[in-house]
Symmetry: D3
């Protein structure tokens, strides 16, 4: 089985229990997560071979973060230990009409200060079949952007499938280059792109053609025209009822428009990582099913299940996802 | 007040907190429960005199299980201490479209290996007015089946009311006899039988007559015809919306068809023991109310409340059940 | 900024975690709250200057209660330390159709036994612009009623705005005088009165005129006629779906009838203090906005948010309330 | 087996976890205990038949306290439910040179307000062989003192052995009579008295004779002379090194002076109830062993073990006490 | 009462429960502390008026840190909100021969990046009688050193007593100036200096004269000669037996040599802040007692008690310290 | 680096928090451990390459146990998934003179029922340099004994160093063969044997020669004579002061007698796995140091540190062990 390799920052997540506010917390629950590592860990749980590449400080915190992904079966042997601190984020879990809230404390992290020369991508990717990255990584620092560029170049050389979750977060881009300058070159090398209409507009100034009924298909077609390497454009639709109630579906365009039904999630246990679970589900689905419809249904079922799991990572088996994918959404007790 | 006596296995239940998965758990919450002991404990809470008969290992775990039911006012003096291990089950509590999941570890338990000769039923039942058993007990081992047979025979001799929750679980019957061979003789001795159409088909090959509108009444009438001792056939209907949302009602046939309205339960706090709470409610209702309709309404209200209680046992008073039974389902604060 | 001063008892609240029943609890969560102190603390969180006046025993418990409100920025320097015990209440948090339940243990508390002479109201109120009290305080003891009377008289002398949440609890009035005897004189001195039709009937025998469409406006008009100092009569409407699901709106009459839309709250995290959050929101709104409509919308948004916060006190900022007030009720993640 | 019956108040104990101070606590651990009920529960654990007689309010707290002792096998059927509140105490567990600290909140409890006529002692004691009471009970109220007097009288009539732990706490005696007035009559009816030289002086003005070497034997002999029913006078010696380190031994005088070696306890897990465990150990020892030396050694071993057990009650078996009694104090792992 | 004002960084402390290692932690306990704020909070607990001056980010974390010291009665109104992150440290609590371990993550904190111009020291100190600072503050950044310099200058102008805990931590001084360059000027302005022989050597190259018996007095005399403003030099002696067992005493030189006996602490609950508790005790003692011997005894008793308290801050009253100071070190239960 | 491979059962350990008794537990802490897997995990922490070979059921519990050792860096890829249940043990942690207590529930586990044919030892050991096993494994079942035999034979064939911790537990040997029949053949193939005089007598009937001063050296010499493959005989000495206080040292005979000083451990945090930590320390020491004295000192320091770590596994780095080995046992704070 060829490995799926992901690259990106892992942060320690500190969250008060239940729905407590940060100012009330006398203890904080510890999780470790990152948009790319979450994908790797979810894939390992689905039965894929997965590796994650990152940079940690050589402290107990870097060790703990490494161990957490090792535990989930992710190959962490490419971790570079360098730098001084682990990025952190504080998460307050909302409820009903009170939103969840994230306070980031990631500046100056080991990953932010990584040295691209530490990563020998040809070696790292030699047994891999798929590389996945997200738009968060090139947003962190010029060094992180360069390492992403290197990884994509090596992956292209080695003939891997490459996927990108473009995930544009305006306030992350602080190091002097804009997403609009950096991202097109990176996305140009990708086969599968997770990208909403909104991100397509922000990053690539691609807007839906007036009067077109299916704006996603229209935007995706433009993306494919602009970046001919792209085969599939994928995204999710959320009908957020409240912090405790979501409805989600997925859409895809690969020349054809494909969509799923909505899945209802109430209550939401933990929505962090729901998008990463979707990506992992789609990669697994693409490696498992012949047609895009099934891959997409697997992906949205995986994402829905993630919303019921504590922590950043989707801790479900392929059989559990398939069970939901087959329409078993009533949550009957399994004895 | 005449005692209600129940007979069956009690297991230690180990469950991760909140909605954590078993693989995430660094601590497990401890409860003790069993389909019959849950009935006895719920009845004690409703103000009935209740005893439970079982077999425990003479270890701290057997002692802890005994103490837990003593605490709830169940007469545990007939407990037989013999054997090596306490049966266990691990419970993962689902949410939304993720189902709860049970991993059993009950083989070789003290109850599985019980000696029927240890139970002097004439002595145990001498102050009793009602005996309740479930189809789980004769499924465990030939010895447990024999002890059930002995209990029913003694209860008949002594003129008790006997109820059975047939509760067919196919994968429990492993010791060489089938439920279809064992259960008819046992059920034949009972006055009240909790049995769904599905179980009636599986256990007794009783199917609804074609084109009959009320299939439950039809099946119940056939059951009463086959086993003339049976006076009432009772069961619940579940409309499971998700692991967090149930709607339940109850139906009964005693020559007449009786039913309740649906009760809505959202969120479900803990659905384990919801059926046992229903049985306890029905026994209490039958001992309290003159007509079956009220007994049934009491039973379904008790079951609904159980879904809001942590643990296997329905920790509610008769007054609390009556409050819901009278239509107070809005959960307004009681000061 | 002029201070808002509140006066009343603070109790220790002891509640089992999650939805456990009191008989199951092996530990109890500690909060401190009281109908008036909750208003002061919420106002401090909204950016107002707020002081609370109360009486505590000179024990670790009185110290802990003081510290808790100090923490939230409430000026506690007027606390009188005298008496023997801190009032307590035990709270069991219900779910779905099981109601939450409160067991009070407040008789003989330091506040119950306070000495009105300990409070120098002219000194206490010298920097204040607003005094708020509730109908719970004069219900506790003749001494507490006298202290309330003194506070209102001083506030009138000093030209403060005075608000009262009449909050009639029949079973609190045990010391020989009735609410009907005591309350009219106290309410007569107030500018803003939080009072439902039900309380208006119970306390002042004011009933809606037959065939009037808007019974609240009608009752409020009668109240204003009876007590000419009153400018605004305010109350909330609750559509309690279950212990886990509320819908709330607010109405006001100040000559004109004003109302808000309903806000939906599911799940309810902690409904204790929802009314106090409404009062604090209304006081803040009145001090902030020119028109009553906005003040009322701010108040109902604040109250809705309180239902999602653990503990008695509404721990939200003005910006967070304004966010909901502007219609952002979908609880989308804030990064 | 004849029952040992105890009589006295049971309080809810609320304590912060670990060594936290009360002002730091955001949750409090719940235990239930009382000097006499602790004896009954320890005796039940040692295999004796034990009943406790008390008065609880008919609330969830009274129910929880009842259930806790039922759990431990204590016969609670004589509980009187009357009154309004359960007595409470708050316990802060010290460490090293910081002392543990207790804040009582027991005034006005159901037991304080009990009606002596509610207790039919001839019925309660009809199967009993031993009655135990402590000096705390007659200190609480005139009613409690009267009920103690009634119990002793009935026990004398029925020929029971009666033991008293005189346990003088000066600040408890608030109802108008002094310990010096009340206690002599009560103690006069007892066979076994737990009484230190200090208490003998305070309560009975019995002082050691000058120049006598063994002051305890001297005082005990005077006590026996004053109260001829007394056969044995017993007490413990503590060498308190710190809140975390105790050394204890026991002495007895029944005409002969008997003593044990010191036992070393480090760390002390929970010293509340150490004296009650000693009393229970001595009662069990007296009912089990022919000579006072062995009873006393059993008692001190039981007390030492209690210091290692969380909560008020000594949760150990007779075999475990005997193991220590035989000199096994090194705490080697038992597999 | 004149205020004691302290100035310095406050960090969030994150520690695994009990003796767990950081890599094992799935939740971290939250405390807030800093060498100077700990002094202010301990002083407030001892009954002094105390203010702490610091710089926090305007996030939930800065708010939580502020609230925590407000809770303890520290005047936090001079807090400057500016900057991006709160400094953190991770604490692993050792046991026996395994040392406790601290992982710092404080670089780039709001305090590190403070602007000295934000602090109007003449205004801040206008009601103060004492200023306390430590050698940690000027070690953090040039800006922090400048603010310290400004504070000392203003305090001198206003005639305050100034104390300094020199507390040399070599690896903190990273911004381009050395402690040896910065500290002498700052210390020159102080009246009371907490300084060990070791720090005197490192910072000021003051070494004990050969063959002098009392090296501390010798070094202190040299310090007083070098910096004539200094009146008292104070330090503690530790005989660390293990991570769980300390013995501490204190020495002082003010022209006379003064010392205390050793106090024994076993077990150590939390040794962080033991030195700060000593400083707070000494300041309180100096403001309370006429002679240095008593102030020193109060200080060492306060420090010993801190070792038994969870968290950074010494949560004890003056009466509790005096109790130990009077020789009550056996930790007997206080009822 | 050559791998160290261990073989044996891993059990789920369930223990009440702190010093609670099993009958008090409402939650149980979860750890996973086994005498051999603990060695592998400790070695991985010390920087060695380590693999553990075992058999788990294909349930969530088997998955969780696998993940736990993966987390610690143990190569678990040789795990066989077969069978029905995971072995369990319940651990009650004693204190002072109350012993810790273990209740086993391991009969019928997946490892008990393993199939020796599932383990291809030549493949498993192909990159290994060392095989370690214990006397617990061949005690479990004939199949487990056979697999041990196969592993030793393969390791001999491949030229590995083989070590055995003979660890005789009489009550484990239940399957029809005795330790005395099975162990000699297995031990005959080993290079390093961990064996006390007591076990040498029980297993091999080797007793110290009368009047010999150094009985260990004498017995070890006899062992070496009987089994010529054995080069080193090693064991520890315990002076158990109480459940909370240990003193340990180590002795070795390899022709020469070697010993260490005693190390003092107070308090003991968790003594389970102290012997396994010693074995791991000795293997690491042997692979690191040239002489046996240093290996032995490293081993005893590692074992002492384990007593301060929660759980079965010694979570310490080589640097931390060396720090203690160099005499740093005072546990001073590491910043």
């Amino acid at each position: 089985m060829k490995q799926v390799v992901t690259f990106g920052e892992v942060m320690m997540r500190l969250s008060p229990p239940l729905h407590y506010r940060l100012t009330q917390a006398n203890h904080l629950e510890v999780n470790y997560g990152g948009g790319e590592a979450n994908v790797a860990a979810a894939l390992a749980g689905l039965g894929q071979s997965a590796a994650h590449v990152t940079c940690f400080p050589a402290t107990e915190l870097g060790q703990a973060a490494t161990q957490q992904f090792q535990r989930l079966g992710v190959d962490m042997r490419h971790t570079v230990f360098r730098g001084l601190r682990l990025g952190l984020y504080f998460l307050e879990v909302g409820a009903s009409l009170r939103a969840s809230k994230v306070v980031y404390d990631r500046a100056g992290s080991a990953f932010d200060k990584l040295d691209p020369a530490d990563f020998n991508w040809d070696e790292i990717l030699k047994n891999a079949g798929w590389l996945h990255w997200t738009g968060i990584t090139p947003a962190i620092s010029a060094a992180a952007a360069q390492a992403t560029r290197d990884a994509i170049a090596a992956a292209r050389r080695l003939g891997l499938t490459i996927s990108a979750d473009v995930n544009y977060r305006r306030n992350l881009w602080q190091y002097g280059q804009t997403a609009q300058e950096v991202m097109p070159e990176l996305v140009a090398g990708c086969d599968v792109v997770f990208c909403s209409e909104h991100d397509a507009d922000d990053l690539f100034h691609i807007k839906p053609t007036a009067d077109v009924e299916n704006s996603f298909a229209d935007v995706a077609a433009q993306l494919r025209a602009r970046f001919p390497q792209i085969k599939q454009v994928v995204t999710t639709r959320r009908q957020t009822q409240s912090a405790s109630h979501e409805r989600i579906k997925a859409v895809l365009y690969d020349g054809q428009f494909v969509e799923t039904d909505f899945l209802n999630i109430a209550p939401v246990v933990d929505r962090i990582g729901g998008g990463d679970a979707f990506v992992a589900g789609f990669i697994h689905g693409s490696l498992t099913y012949a047609d895009a419809q099934q891959a997409l249904q697997f992906a949205i079922a995986a994402s829905a299940l993630k919303h019921t799991i504590h922590g950043d990572v989707n801790l479900v088996t392929a059989a559990e996802v398939e069970h939901v994918m087959q329409g078993n959404t009533s949550g009957r007790l399994v004895r």
